[in-house]
Symmetry: C2
Subunit: 382 residues, 2 copies
């Protein structure tokens, strides 16, 4: 079993090398391999390979159903230590396996002789091309995992956060028929808060909430995913939701419609949270007074380093903080969990949707995120 | 010699205890002392004592001359490891020995069981009272020194900065007679850039610059210290300075006059840097478009943790970054130096003005800040 796993690992590594290795590496395959495992090698080496995350349940958004999510697993090795990272590419965000592989092929980490210099390294990675935020996040996460392991500390501790303050995570219920929604709600037993996807017509949205409410009175958090097109309708829906023990509403209106969004937030009885409207640090000043808070996702914002800057800026503006995710393995989920003590709300259930998670890491205790002393992002390959 | 130094240290410690120790500590002096040195003690203990920094040269600002600067030295001990911090209180900033001692007496670190939880600890320290930024900085610096030592790494590395990017520091020439200015300029040999204090009448200001220029053609950075009261005069002076190899002008106008300052910056041939106008993170959004950059000082902004947030916010606004100081020992100067790789400009000469520096730390190599592998803020008591 172990032998087979090692064989598979080795094959995957070879695949990764063959996809990315420049000619000079091919001419010295033994040296490259030795460098990877030797504690004496002081070169930053990056490898990566595609991975197909298989969804436990088919995922439906706006009439489109999928059963897998494309992922790229990234590793950065230095001095015999390996950091793990991941890019997750839900199809509606514009990145895919070829685009991530093409981006990562351009990443030349060998020019840096000190893995601790994350500021310069990640500034360089961000400068290689515009967008490609998930590809960039995979490098950011792997480098953070590596540096945390070199320091011997988990990142929540290096950042000075209080692990006991990590919040509960929601479990998400997608848009479905009344019976399925009721059934799924019954399966949310360990979770203290439920996230419900809305943004359809009024009848469907109300059916969704009523179906959940027929099963449980747990707090609900609503994600409208830009689905409401009119500010008056959005406000009317939020006012109705406010009577249903709903904590907040995420992204009620289309992402660029900030003027109407400010109108809604001013009148909303519930806090409003920006998701699609808030990708990166530079977006936040434009969202002050437009939303009450922001949803930070590593795959949107290029990773942990920028996420922390977003936390500080949003907090200084008095905005609420939420951490979210895509369908991700426990690698990226555990990285995001390191930030969770700073969050008012967490939606880190992406790894729970996958049948073939290839990492173990962040654990939930009765729905609450539990951080450990494991260094880096706190994951192990399985 | 060593014995005498130890005796002095012990006396100083006793003085510190006697000034701050609550009754329960006095009744258990031996236990308190043992806790300080025992590797097993997992209590955060804070001690502090006044220190009079003796200036090598009397310091004159606006007709007021002083020969000393009041300082409070702070120590935080945990598990046998001690972190060093410092509050420096130039008289014009509103803090003094009694105010800092009174503030530090209120700081109850024993409620925290984990020194790594800097975010919560420093949020608490900031919440004890408004203002008191130097007192707060002394705790922030001591805790950073402690945590860096517990992790075993210098902070420039923990933050991911590139030490080789640390800039040169300026050496400051105060307002004085033409002969003294010429003499002092001749003494700036190791420094690559000179900072000149202006903000008097036009004749004095021009005499100052001309006196420096009669000795050297090194770049000059000007600090007007709010001295110019009229925007037209400020712009005229800056236009003249632009012909004299001047890099930038700090705080031309009174700190609250942001409207006129924006007018000056829009027309200025030289970058403008906010000093008195920029104390803390919350000030920065108001300075966007008003100044080209900000001068961060630990004694203004409560310390390293907030300074890093200021760096990130100002950088995201495209503003230039400068790190400055008060008259400080090598303790606070070395702490500020940890941030210096992120800075466009540094003015960290405060320790060079003191005859009785009680720490060794940040060194200059031909005027350039040189960071070491020493953990924490990188200082040793002397």
């Amino acid at each position: 079993m172990t032998t087979r796993r090692n064989f598979l690992k080795a094959s995957a590594l070879l695949t990764a090398y063959s996809l990315i290795a420049p000619k000079s590496l091919f001419s010295q395959p033994i040296k490259a391999s030795r460098q990877k495992n030797s504690p004496g090698s002081k070169l930053l080496q990056i490898t990566f390979k595609p991975y197909e995350a298989k969804l436990i349940h088919p995922f439906t958004v706006s009439g489109y159903t999928r059963t897998t999510t494309p992922i790229v697993l990234t590793e950065v090795t230095y001095d015999g230590i390996t950091g793990y990272g991941e890019a997750s590419m839900p199809p509606y965000l514009g990145e895919n396996i070829p685009s991530v592989m093409a981006f990562l092929e351009k990443v030349n980490l060998k020019q840096f002789h000190n893995p601790f210099e994350l500021d310069d390294i990640l500034t360089y990675v961000d400068s290689i091309a515009i967008n490609n935020t998930a590809a960039k996040a995979s490098v950011d996460i792997a480098l953070h995992d590596l540096v945390g392991k070199l320091i011997g500390q988990p990142w929540h501790r290096i950042w000075g956060y209080t692990p006991s303050k990590a919040p509960v995570t929601t479990f998400t219920i997608g848009i479905d028929t009344e019976d399925v929604v009721k059934e799924k709600t019954k399966e949310t037993t360990p979770y203290k808060v439920i996230k419900v996807k809305l943004g359809m017509d009024e009848a469907t949205d109300k059916m969704m909430i009523n179906a959940v409410r027929s099963v449980t009175d747990k707090p609900i958090r609503v994600d409208a995913n830009q689905g409401w097109k009119d500010k008056h309708h959005a406000l009317k829906m939020i006012e109705w939701l406010a009577t249903k023990n709903v904590d907040f509403v995420e992204q009620p209106l289309p992402k660029h419609n900030l003027e109407d969004m400010a109108w809604v937030t001013e009148r909303s009885p519930l806090p409003t949270i920006a998701d699609e409207s808030c990708q990166r640090l530079e977006d936040i000043p434009h969202l002050k007074g437009v939303f009450d808070g922001i949803n930070i996702k590593l795959m949107k914002c290029t990773g942990l380093r920028e996420a922390n800057k977003m936390i500080n800026m949003a907090q200084s503006f008095g905005m609420k903080l939420m951490i979210g995710c895509m369908t991700e393995t426990s690698c990226a989920i555990s990285a995001a969990a390191q930030l969770s003590p700073k969050m008012d709300f967490a939606d880190l259930d992406g790894n729970l949707l996958i049948a073939n998670d290839c990492f173990s890491g962040m654990k939930l205790t009765e729905g609450k995120i539990t951080l450990t002393d494991d260094p880096g992002i706190g994951v192990r390959k399985i």
